[in-house]
């Protein structure tokens, strides 16, 4: 296996996937562009957190906690920068760093190629992400935020559905 190899031993069938040159950077920039640009025309698209989905996908695929958390940090900080001056740098950065780390760690232990697994993991990671953002707001920024709304629950499901299709699409960027 030149481009994909067993991460642990011969008994394990969990592979680390490599991607084509520029795939991660390109997908990340496209996701951030989408996040900032598309809601101008489709307001409802704002509930899709594409940078989060990209963090989860590459975390699950690369299965290296160090690169996963660093990618999450970069994506999060860029999202903070594009979210206006009322969002301090680090709010999404911290959340996506943790998600990148967790996704990579889980990806190294579980087979996450099945759409059902991806759906469930995205819902869990979305909830965790919201939880970390809320904790950061409450504890570090002393801002009040609501823990749960119906809108968040719907957003979690929508993001999970989008993730299933997006991840299948991103699979094509893997080196065969």
């Amino acid at each position: 296996m030149n481009d994909a190899f067993d991460i642990r031993n011969m008994e394990s069938h969990i592979e680390v996937h490599k991607f084509r040159g520029g795939a991660i950077v390109g997908a990340t920039l496209l996701a951030l562009m989408f996040q900032a640009f598309v809601p101008v025309y489709f307001a409802k698209a704002a509930m899709i957190d594409l940078p989060l989905l990209i963090t989860i996908y590459f975390g699950l695929s690369r299965r290296n906690p160090s690169t996963g958390l660093l990618l999450g940090m970069v994506i999060g900080l860029l999202q903070d920068s594009l979210s206006g001056p009322t969002v301090p740098l680090g709010l999404y950065g911290i959340a996506k760093t943790v998600i990148g780390y967790l996704a990579s760690s889980i990806g190294a232990r579980l087979d996450t190629e099945h759409p059902a697994a991806r759906f469930a993991l995205t819902i869990i990671f979305f909830g965790l992400h919201q939880g970390i953002v809320l904790l950061t707001r409450r504890i570090l920024l002393a801002q009040s935020s609501v823990w749960f709304t119906m809108h968040l629950a719907v957003a979690a499901v929508v993001n999970a559905i989008v993730a299933v299709f997006l991840f299948a699409l991103l699979d094509h960027l893997r080196k065969s």
Partner: protein
């Protein structure tokens, strides 16, 4: 890292990276300008693509509207369809131009009716990249004389205020953002109270006492007390009133469609915009208004001297507003100390 098991390295790295970002957050809380450089670079890098994307989408929409949307029907009857298509295409083009002309005419009329207020049209090229804030990015910046804290409106109503300015772009905090606020009053009773965002499509009016009479459907307009927006610009319409302790909880639907903004007007002045007094019919009222305004001058001035957001959140007396005459064209007046303070960044 010798001595550290490799599986623990990533945990150390995670801890370090998170701590660094916590430090970054703490620095920003202490000093507002920290991290601005990163934002400037990021926005500078992304805005050309957003601008290009905006043009691209516009072109695609036009193409879709004028060609692809008509293509399916053309299969039914070749010859007749082609002619029909051409006609439909022309009609569509004319319609979209008419809609655009209507929209621009609305903006032009607004400009004409407020000739004394320097304004600038701007196009929305992006929105906030996350749901934690409600901001939009405009295609005009400091090169077009836009400055921080300038008001942004549409002919339908108030949109928000400029919170960040770059060379060719600027960022606007929408009224619906949790940190947003505007000096407002009820159009019928002229009772004044700030209106703020709640992080959802509806706005909140917080400081109206339970004794005050407020009706669903009543219009809410700017009071001019925040020294950013001229008086009597529409903010929204009351959709829900709930009794609270000690104030009512009033929800307002914004007049401007803040979820579908494509073009906006930036009020190119940081000077307080003052309304002209009505002459003939308003004379008796004007004298009362002068007195009332004098009585309430102190509270409003103190509110103005606060940062805009704070000023908007503090309840103000409605006495002056009750007596004041209705809308007339706004004119800029010279900058006063209070006004300068009023437009200080939050």
């Amino acid at each position: 890292m010798p001595g550290i098991p490799s599986r623990h390295k990533s945990i150390f790295l995670l801890t370090g990276v998170v701590l660094l970002q916590v430090l970054l957050l703490a620095l920003q809380i202490k000093r507002d300008s920290e991290g601005r450089l990163i934002r400037v670079w990021t926005v500078g890098a992304f805005s050309p693509f957003e601008r290009a994307g905006n043009h691209g989408i516009g072109h695609l929409r036009e193409t879709w509207r004028h060609y692809f949307a008509l293509q399916n029907a053309s299969r039914e009857n070749e010859q007749l369809r082609r002619e029909n298509d051409e006609l439909k295409m022309q009609v569509n083009q004319l319609q979209s131009k008419a809609i655009e002309a209507d929209r621009l005419a609305l903006l032009l009329n607004f400009h004409k009716s407020h000739e004394n207020v320097p304004m600038l049209n701007a196009r929305v090229i992006a929105t906030s990249a996350g749901t934690a804030s409600a901001t939009i990015m405009l295609d005009r910046g400091s090169k077009d004389h836009i400055k921080k804290n300038m008001g942004v409106i549409t002919p339908e109503g108030v949109v928000g205020k400029v919170v960040e300015v770059y060379d060719n772009t600027s960022e606007v905090l929408l009224l619906t953002d949790k940190d947003s606020g505007v000096g407002a009053m009820l159009s019928n009773s002229r009772k004044q109270s700030p209106v703020g965002g709640a992080g959802e499509p509806l706005l909140l009016m917080k400081y109206v006492a339970n004794d005050d009479t407020v009706n669903v459907g009543e219009r809410v307009v700017t009071s001019g007390m925040d020294k950013i927006f001229p008086r009597d610009l529409p903010i929204g319409t009351i959709t829900e009133i709930k009794p609270g302790n000690p104030f009512k909880s009033i929800r307002i639907r914004p007049s401007a469609d803040l979820e579908r903004l494509e073009e906006v007007i930036v009020l190119l002045t940081l000077q307080p915009l003052q309304m002209n007094q009505e002459t003939e019919t308003a004379k008796p009222v004007a004298s009362v208004a002068t007195k009332s305004a004098g009585e309430t001058a102190k509270p409003s001035a103190s509110a103005a001297s606060k940062p805009a957001g704070e000023a908007a959140k503090s309840p103000t007396s409605g006495a002056a507003a009750k007596a004041a005459p209705a809308t007339v064209s706004p004119v800029p007046v010279p900058v006063s100390d209070n006004a300068a303070a009023a437009v200080k960044p939050e």
